[in-house]
Amino acid sequence: MKLKTFAAVLATNAALITSAGAFDLDPALPTYKSVSGISGQLKSIGSDTLNNEMTLWAEGFKAKYPNVKIEIEGKGSSTAPPALVEGTSQFGPMSRPMKAKEIEAFEKKYGYKPSSFQVAIDALAVYVNKDNPLKCLTLQQVDGIFSKSRKGGLNKDITTWGDVGLTGEWAAKPISLYGRNSASGTYGYFKEVALFEGDYKDQVKEQPGSSAVVQGVASDKFAIGYSGIGYKTADVRAVPLAVKAGDKCYDTSAENAYSGNYPIARFLYIYVNRNPNQPLDPLRAEFIKYALSKQGQTDTIKGGYYPITNSLRLENLKALGISAN
């Protein structure tokens, strides 16, 4: 499902990047060139995963167009669709695709579907404390750790570190769970892909931000949590994941995220309200072009995510009706 679409989209781009190192930009991405007469106001409301990215792009864009005003608000992906529908924001960054219900609410008001484009790739990481010797987890084990319904097919609940094969002082220690609050797209995406649409355990300590999850895991030796790879610190370690028992484990490196081998890599999106019969206004079009340019994607790396490729950029621009030059 989601995994396959992700892999399929990237398969076309894979050839370009196989040799690329962790943080090399696709050399084909063009440098952004400013045009004259861009001014006005933009407001973005949405994902907190993309909050730092949006801020970095806004800073870069403002350096090109000093009189553009951009306000960034990031309280969670679920806040993006209502803001777009109400017209209070022009951009809705989201760390998951919109749900059918959200698209329906938008369509009801405007008569057309919202448009979206991919701005970055995130390897959603499962973090453990830096001292945790855990080598690998399968998705079923992750499901067993975080979910009470265990739709992944594991037949017994995982509550202690011994249940995932750790020995010594770890074996008897209960696993302490950290996660995001339900307004977050990370929460929704993790539920869909790692929990197979199951329900979270009640013991999961829901945190208000991606960085708060990492801090929780950093200060709690027996903790596990999930958050974007961009929030990694020296105090936590991202566990390599395998799709099922017996499969090879893949870590959160850029290559594994691009190839789709890492099982919970995802696209990060920005949604816009675009009437398909009209061109986008120049202000928003230029911002989109900037975010997808070489400078914008350098900011993506700066924010801790993986950049998109040029072919993906061209596809996005085409879908939005923006000329690539």
């Binding site: 801020t55 970095l56 009189n67 951009i70 209070t88 960085s211 610190t233």
Partner: protein, 581 residues
């Protein structure tokens, strides 16, 4: 006469020992009130210790953040090198695999310590090269630690800090090889580069900003005329002509300014610095992109003080950079103060007028009691509820109507129909108004009845009495209420997150463009900044000290606002001291 009897009563037990014998020791103790006195004393002590402990904790952590630290170069047994500021050490239990990998001497040391070892967190910087900012180094892997004099700590405009050496500097067509950071030629060139950078920013921001603003005003004029009179009307035609007449001159001004900025930028690109990290990886940067650099291991006391002060200066007077993790917090300070003052402007008259009516005019009865109870209960409503109310009522309700009526030319982009500093101030005013009402009522009731009666007896009307006798005397009490309201309002974050505080506000609510005060704009707030840096920033390790610094600052700002109010209050008090009938 009365006094004499009580005195005698108090003395009697001492004179009559039989009375003491009849009492149990516990009664005597409690009768003298000593256990209560001790309990009160203990409670006070606990309170003071907690407050002072908290303040010391915050201020200690906040004040040491900007002190420049030495840069260690750690050579590991494997031959790898790590350079960075040692941040914090930690005791940890080594895994059996890790112990096995150690040389026998080190393994024995670990065994003596019961399986525990030390490790240190280094701030290695160079995120663009390493893809991490901090690294743990186990003491057992260390071969040696040096503090070479030529190591430089560099704060950059982008990518955070750089730790390494300066290889060479290119100033125009001059080359400096291996300059020390204190090389006068380098320092002068850097100063010049920064000045040039400031000029470029001023051109781009203020001068080009002015042109763009004028263009936008013309565009909006046309659009307003089109909406009001129809696109084909004479008014719209006139607006279009006015726009067309002014555009060429603005365009040429725009081109002239951008040309100047491009010229300065090209000069800036000629002055570059080549940096090398500890392993020799090189990085070329324009000189103007270095904010500050210093030889971390070769600083005199005076150097350290000046770096410390210059960091505070930047923090207080600059705008944030790199998604709020670096740079300053000036917009947040400004937003906090402006919003609080705006709130006081609203809450003071509202609260005082309500209390005046309730206390002086309203007939004391069931209705007034209900109103009073409601006001007191209002103080107990969770603040986030006010936020939801503010968003729904002010922003989406009133604001959307204001937009429809007065700013149709800007739609669909909302003007007042979204969170802003005005709506935030009004929401907080609602939140804090009970405090002012209660304090004012108390202050009014404390004005002696004799004074009112005296005034009325002299022939003054009720309003004249209130205005000239009651209100001035109640003023210090009212000020106390306002001070409490201000302190509560300035520290509140939860409702603001819904009604106008944003992570990055591009412009202040006050600027040089007509009408100068823009109450519809979103703003930044120190309280939200703390939340954002602490829980939302990518690099939470680097964010932690900034949380403390910002908290210090928020406490200082609130203290300053309160002090100002207290000074005003004591002036008022002095004015009426000894002025009684």
């Amino acid at each position: 006469m009365d006094n004499v009897t009580t005195d005698q009563a108090a003395i009697r037990p001492i004179d009559a020992p039989s009375a003491v014998v009849r009492r149990s020791p516990a009664t005597a103790l409690s009768a003298r009130g000593e256990p209560f006195m001790w309990a009160l004393g203990a409670a006070l002590t606990i309170g003071i210790v907690m407050v002072i402990g908290f303040l010391l904790f915050v201020f200690w952590n906040g004040l040491v953040t900007f002190i420049p630290k030495p840069v260690a170069v750690v050579t590991l047994r494997s031959g790898a090198m790590v350079a960075g500021e040692p941040t914090r050490p930690e005791l940890y239990r080594l895994s059996p695999d890790a112990i096995k990998a150690l040389p026998p001497a080190e393994a024995a040391k670990v065994a003596v310590n019961g399986g525990y070892g030390h490790r240190t967190l280094y701030r290695i910087g160079n995120y663009d090269l390493y893809n991490e900012d901090f690294r743990w180094v186990s003491d057992h892997d260390v071969d040696k630690i040096d503090y070479p004099e030529e190591m430089v700590f560099i704060e950059r405009l982008e990518w955070g800090v750089f730790v390494g050496r300066i290889r060479s500097v290119k100033i125009g067509d001059r080359d400096l090889a291996n300059p020390t950071p204190k090389d006068p030629a380098l320092v002068a060139a850097h100063k010049e580069a920064r000045a040039r950078w400031q000029t470029i920013r001023r051109i781009e921001r203020d001068l080009i900003g002015r042109v763009n603003h004028d263009l936008e005003v013309l565009r909006l004029d046309v659009r307003r005329a089109e909406i009001k009179h129809g696109p084909a009307s004479t008014q719209a035609e006139k607006a279009r002509l006015a726009e067309a007449a002014q555009i060429p001159s603005l365009k040429s001004e725009y081109d002239r300014l951008t040309g100047e900025a491009v010229r300065l930028n090209s000069i800036a690109q000629l002055n570059t610095v080549t940096l090398a990290d500890v392993t020799g990886k090189e990085k070329v940067l324009p000189l103007s992109s270095l904010v500050r650099f210093y030889p971390a291991n070769n600083l005199s006391f005076f150097d350290k003080v000046s770096i410390y002060l210059s960091r505070w200066g930047e923090f207080l007077s600059a705008e944030p950079r790199e998604a709020n993790t670096e740079g300053g917090v000036l917009p947040a300070i400004f937003g906090t103060v402006a919003m609080t003052l705006l709130m006081v402007l609203v809450v003071a008259p509202m609260g005082v007028i309500t209390a005046l009516y309730l206390r002086e005019y309203a007939k004391q009865g069931r209705l007034v009691s209900i109103v009073r109870i409601s006001v007191n209960n209002l103080a107990g409503v969770p603040s986030i509820v006010y936020g939801v109310f503010g968003l729904g009522f002010f922003a989406y309700g009133i604001g959307a109507h204001i937009d429809d009526l007065f700013f149709p030319e800007r739609l669909p982009a909302p003007t007042f129909g979204t969170g802003g500093i005005l709506w935030s101030a009004l929401t907080l005013a609602l939140l804090t108004v009970p405090v002012v009402i209660v304090a004012t009522e108390e202050a009014l009731s404390a004005v002696p009845r004799s004074m009112r009666e005296g005034s009325l007896a002299c022939g003054a009307s009720k309003w004249q009495t209130i205005k000239n006798i009651v209100l001035p005397r109640a003023m210090p009490g009212i000020m106390t209420g306002i001070i409490l309201a201000m302190a509560r309002g300035a520290g509140e974050v939860a409702p603001l997150m819904l009604v106008g505080v944003v992570k990055l506000a591009p412009t202040l609510p006050f600027d040089g463009y007509f009408p100068f005060v823009h109450l519809e704009r979103s703003f930044m707030h120190l309280g939200f900044h703390i939340y954002d840096v602490g829980f939302q920033s990518r690099n939470s390790e680097a964010g932690k000290p900034m949380v403390f610094v910002t908290t210090c600052l928020l406490i200082a700002v609130i203290t300053f606002l309160n002090l100002a109010a207290i000074v005003i209050r004591s002036r008022l008090k002095r004015q009426f001291a000894g002025n009684q009938f």
